[in-house]
Symmetry: C2
């Protein structure tokens, strides 16, 4: 059984970025395990979906491209684009992996994780591995959160949609009111479809400056465009909590908490969010979870259940800080490496730490991240 100091589970933005940071700190005894290929979740995005955070080559001015996982790279530079598609971003990640010669074992499903006195044993579809430190970079996109909607399997979750490039005489139903709901709404509306969106609470009403809470600028722009133009056929109904979907002779019926219903010939689109995919791994519990399915961690981003097991990526939460965008969660790679080095007595090159700090990619104070704006 091959042993590594560090095993990273997942070769998405978090896993690749963390691996690249380890390489920069000259820590080489690690392996990245990936169930599919590099950037697997991004490859599974709907083909019409693009990044909602813009890419721009601000590198060199202390502002790495906000979608970069390594300071001196930029998706904007790699693709001459501001808003990459999922496959383009997966390509960017594979460029970083290749450039840094990262050790990745792809097509390897993690079956179970077992803790033992000196670390963890990771059983996979391609053999077993052991490690002292386990880094969970499992991401969110591939596990729908259906929020207890009965009959949710009759709908189609946003994450299962191949493309919104569909034209139909029959109206569509979307359940949800945040980023992916607005993305589905605008794409379907652009093509002339009639679209009915039902939501508990519409993201557009939220006025927080933090884009993890309110809609991103590009989504707001797109919504304004379709709402201002009477040629589009959209209907947004708020205060609607979907409880059940069932199939009828006419198609699909959605029943809301207030007793009202909606029909569509098409499967209702569930834009109800995602859960961290570490829920899917067998063996003993890796994390405890809060009521929203978010893994619970200490202030070192360590599992509250398992020592030396850390969470990185978009599921990370610290008090009121939501790390759901790349430019947020990438800031915790370097502090985590510093923590591991401190436990092991490794000396880290202070110039590399300074490099991450100078590029705003080393966030070790968790009291500083409230996003407020005067204007």
């Amino acid at each position: 059984m091959k042993h590594y100091q560090i095993i990273i589970i997942g070769a998405g933005a978090a896993g690749i970025g963390f691996g690249a940071a380890l390489k920069r700190y000259d820590i080489n005894d690690f392996l990245i395990l990936e169930q599919g290929t590099v950037g697997d979740s991004f490859l599974k995005w709907p083909r019409t979906t693009q990044f909602i955070t813009p890419s721009f080559t601000t590198n060199g001015f202390g502002f790495p491209d906000i979608n970069a996982v390594v300071p001196n790279t930029s998706p904007a530079f790699s693709f001459n684009k501001e808003h990459l598609s999922g496959p383009e971003y997966a390509h960017y990640l594979s460029l970083v992996a290749k450039n840094d010669n990262l050790p990745i074992q792809t097509n390897t499903q993690v079956l179970t994780i077992q803790r033992h006195p000196k670390g963890y044993q990771v059983k996979t579809s391609q053999g077993d591995f052991s490690c002292r430190y386990l880094i969970m970079a499992t991401g969110e996109f591939q596990l729908p959160n259906n929020q207890g909607i009965k009959g949710a399997e009759l709908g189609m979750h946003y994450g299962q949609v191949d493309s919104f490039n569909v034209k139909s005489e029959d109206p569509f139903i979307i359940i949800g009111g945040n980023e992916s709901a607005c993305d589905a709404l605008t794409h379907l509306a652009y093509l002339g479809n009639e679209v009915h969106l039902f939501t508990d609470s519409f993201g557009k009403r939220k006025t927080a400056a933090d884009p993890s809470i309110s809609l991103s600028p590009i989504t707001q722009e797109r919504l304004k465009h379709i709402q201002d133009n009477p040629n589009y056929h959209i209907h947004i109904t708020e205060g609607k909590h979907a409880q059940e979907i069932h199939q009828t002779e006419k198609g699909y019926q959605v029943i809301f908490q207030d007793g009202s219903t909606a029909y569509s010939h098409h499967k209702p689109i569930l834009a109800t969010g995602f859960l961290n995919t570490c829920h899917l791994i067998g063996g003993e519990a890796i994390f405890d979870y809060n009521q929203d399915g978010i893994p619970l961690v200490t202030e070192n981003d360590e599992s509250t259940l398992n020592p030396n097991c850390f969470l990185i990526g978009p599921s990370l939460r610290q008090k009121n800080t939501i790390f759901c965008y790349i430019y947020k969660f990438r800031q915790r790679f370097s502090p985590l490496i510093t923590e591991i080095a401190s436990r092991e007595g490794w000396q880290l090159d202070p110039d590399i730490l300074e490099f991450y700090r100078a590029n705003q990619m080393h966030l070790d104070r968790l009291d500083c991240c409230e996003v407020t704006c005067d204007c």
Copy 2:
């Protein structure tokens, strides 16, 4: 004659941002003089022109919105947009000015500047002022650079265009190959016009990661869109240096250095760049200039001709570093205030300095700004 410690000439992005920084450092003995209203140049942008740098509310993660002039503000937050128009950005600047209660005298044309032993005398259309420190925030947009094209007055400079929302049977000619040329080209092409662009060197060929050198991601995206779609009628001819424009019976003729010519019924659009408007102020020379019309400054951004007279804004150059975007030039406000305070023996609050540093808006090392990208 009213005396101030500091007079700032220009209430654009640089002048407003610098004034707001002075306020934060609790320096209040200053005046901003503005020939028009706040954000005057932005109000004069073609109505179809938008920012090529995206706005996003990364505030709170050490990344102020890249178009913000003050860290805790964000054009994306103010307007729920990623790419503001000129008038929207002028509105953002006026929100900052109002929020910070900045002392601005608008509709005041600076006629002459005279140096005297203790500072400067500034004669304006609304009276005379004196100051110890002069901050030239005069911007570039309002002074076309016609690169020695004979008969340039027969063309129409990009900065003089009201809107590219024009449809014509007759082809258009654009002279230039950088950002504004590509903006004119794409807008005219979107409407179905036939457009001929002639350029010495096409920005798209440049592969530098620094967006001050090569085209911005959004411009590259737009160009790709029109170049990939055969429904658009564009023709890009490189290696063409325009020498002369003259009027003929048929319209306008452009003569190139290689002897070839081009005709259009429309005035040729000159997308040949801009010069710093301090060229227009009378009295003694404020700056010496290089061959490109760029004001020459010391490493403190001080005029090489006049002590205590500083340049801020998009004309600023230091060695190989081009400060032509807001996210670049705003980084020199705080170091300049530190320099003035040091000359005057003022104590600055170290927390404010830390605030600017933590937001990547205090750049005092000029050897660190090369924009490079591995991927």
